[in-house]
Structures are given as C-alpha cells and as structure tokens.
C-alpha cells in the first residue's frame, strides 16, 4: 500500500515541477497540457473498470451497480478530455470552450452522482437527521458562496449565454457531487473505507476549485493551455484512481 501512496505523491511532484518550470519548454508544455488529460482520465477509467469487473464477477450487488456508474461517469469525462485534445492538437483551436467536449463533461456528472447516491443510500439509515440537516445547510452555504464568487466576474464579462451557463454549471455540479460524497466520508470516516472516501472528497474538492478558477479565468480571457490550475484537474484524476484502488483493496 505504501508503494501506491509513494507512486501517487511522486507523480504529483513531477507534474508540479513540470508546470512550475514550463517557461523553459513552452512547446512541449502545450502538447503535454492537452495530451496528458486523456491519458490520466483514461487511467482513472481503467482503475474504476477493474473495480467494476471485480465487483461484477463476485456478484451483481450494490457495489457493482455503483461502480458501473462511477466507470460510466469517468468514461464520459475521458471522452471530454479526448475531444478537447482533438480540438487543440488536431484542429488547432486554442481554448475550445464551450464545445462538444463540455457535453461529455457535463453528462459525466449524472452517472457520477448516481454512483455516489447509490453507495451512500445503502448505509443511509446510519445518518442521523441532525447530520443530514447540517449537511444540507453546508451544501446550501457553499452553493451561495460559489455563486457569489462567480456572479460578478462571469456576468461582468458579458459572454454568450451558453458560456455563462457552463461557467456556473461546472462548479455547481461539483457541489452536487460533494453534497453526497461528504455524507460517505461522515459514514465511513472511522473505518477502513474512510481513506477511499476521503480521497474521493478531496478529488471532488480539487475539481470544484479548478472549475471555479477555470470559469473565472476564461471570463477574463486569462486561461491558457498549461495554466497551473490544470494541476488540480490532474491531481483530481490521480486521487480518484487511488481512491478506487484502495476501495477495491479494502472491500
């Protein structure tokens, strides 16, 4: 298990260094920034798919259903990454946003939400009304904060309606995932499943931060391929991979 943690931290460090010193190799960075996301998201699909295969082979129980949706969600995100890479590397579009890639990214949230919901629902009766109420208040507060943070920069940028919708949709959909995922963390925190659920929550938190930053930066035309915020997306996929690997090890 230590090896897997070590490998994850090493990959994260290498990625951070690669982005930190990108001024020395701008052309490579442009290629890497666009070609790496399909690789890492494809890796996440494979790890999730292996868990799915394992749960499916053992028995078609609740975990196999949840992992089917996790894998489907990650597959949609992989498609989004691949299409983005196609736009930038093949068609030469600088920042293809919004594009067909967004259709896949946004679609991916649906199965991912279903997966989290199906999983947490199994253990739902262990959650007290007080916990559920606190969780709901937290989610509402976070939604208000995120909307508040984005309202002025996004609406002030006078973008197309479609772009404005996408700017708000990603962070808010991330929060929808978080609203269920953190219940899983509360449920399993003290158990062996606590680690994978912590990592799932951390991955979603990173995605949320990355999407808020992306919306903000694109509204100000300040996003470019190779921007440091991409690290958050890469880390998020890595954390999902680690979480699914650990879950399959524990259960």
């Amino acid at each position: 298990m230590q090896k897997v943690y070590g490998l994850t931290v090493s990959v994260m460090t290498v990625l951070a260094l690669l982005y930190a010193f990108q001024n020395y190799y701008p052309e490579f960075m442009h290629l890497f920034s666009n070609a790496f996301p399909p690789v890492i998201s494809g890796g996440a699909v494979i790890v999730s798919g292996l868990s799915l295969e394992r749960y499916w082979r053992k028995a078609k129980g609740p975990f196999s259903k949840a992992w089917f949706y996790f894998t489907l969600g990650l597959f949609f995100w992989f498609m989004g990454e691949a299409i983005w890479a196609g736009y930038t590397l093949v068609l030469g579009v600088e920042v293809p946003y919004p594009s067909i890639a967004d259709v896949f990214w946004l679609a991916g949230y649906i199965p991912f939400f279903i997966a989290l919901y199906l999983y947490v629902k199994i253990f739902g009766c262990a959650l007290t009304k007080k916990t559920l109420a606190a969780s709901m208040v937290t989610t509402i507060v976070l939604t208000i904060i995120v909307t508040g943070v984005l309202l002025v920069p996004v609406l002030g940028a006078e973008e197309d309606l479609l772009v404005e919708v996408a700017d708000f949709a990603y962070p808010l959909l991330d929060l929808a995932l978080f609203s269920v995922a953190h219940l899983g963390l509360i449920l399993f925190w003290k158990g062996k499943l606590g680690k994978p659920w912590f990592l799932i929550n951390l991955a979603i938190a990173m995605d949320t931060c990355a999407d808020i930053l992306f919306s903000y930066l694109t509204a100000h035309n300040a996003y470019y391929c190779g921007h440091m915020l991409e690290l958050l997306y890469h880390f998020s996929y890595l954390l999902f991979m680690l979480a699914f690997y650990l879950h399959a090890k524990e259960l």
Binding site: G61, F63, I122, F123, C125, A126, F188, K192, L193
Partner: protein, 105 residues
C-alpha cells in the same frame, strides 16, 4: 432452555448472513474473510462473540456499520417472531439482550 438458546443462535447466524447481503455476496465474503483472518472467528461463532463481529464491522465501515447492524437486528426479530421497535440510544447489544429477555433466555 438449551433448545431455545440454540434456536436464538441459529436465527442470529441467519440474520447476519442475510443482513450482510446488503453489501452483495462479495461484500459479505469480505466481512467473513476479515472475521476469520483478523479475529479467528467463523460466522457460526458470532453468537458467542457478537462484540468481535461488531468490532470487525466498525473497523471496516465506521459509523456506516450501524446500517448493517440495524438490518441484522430487524431480520433477527422477524425470525424470532418478535416486534422490532426502534429505540433511541439502543445499540446492537442492547437489542440482542432485549430479544433474549423477551424469549426468557
């Protein structure tokens, strides 16, 4: 008395077997595997050491184990022909003792 105790133990083993199915057969096997390898306890020994079984569940699922415990208790009460009524602050062991008391064990 011995016959009733044996009936109780058999019902508990069955209730555990069925209750763990909420995790799917794979999940149930993992719990039994952990029980055997980490606690040297087979499922048939659980009625004699329910505290070990619950510890094993809580080590894997944390607070989430309460959902499994509840399903098991409901199943047990149903098998024993007892009425299950949810009681505040009652844990797995208190429900077990309550059932035993009602059966006069």
């Amino acid at each position: 008395m011995n016959q009733e105790r044996s009936m109780f133990e058999k019902a508990l083993v069955e209730a555990i077997d069925e209750g763990l199915l909420m995790l799917g057969e794979g999940g149930r096997e993992v719990v039994y595997f952990r029980l055997r390898h980490s606690y040297a306890l087979s499922k048939e020994d659980v009625p004699a050491h329910p505290e070990i079984f619950i510890e094993c569940l809580r080590k894997i699922f944390g607070s989430g184990s309460k959902a499994i415990e509840k399903t098991i208790i409901k199943g047990l009460y149903s098998k024993l022909g007892l009425t299950y009524a949810e009681k505040k602050n009652f844990d797995f062991f208190e429900y077990l003792n309550e059932a035993k008391k009602q059966l006069g064990l």
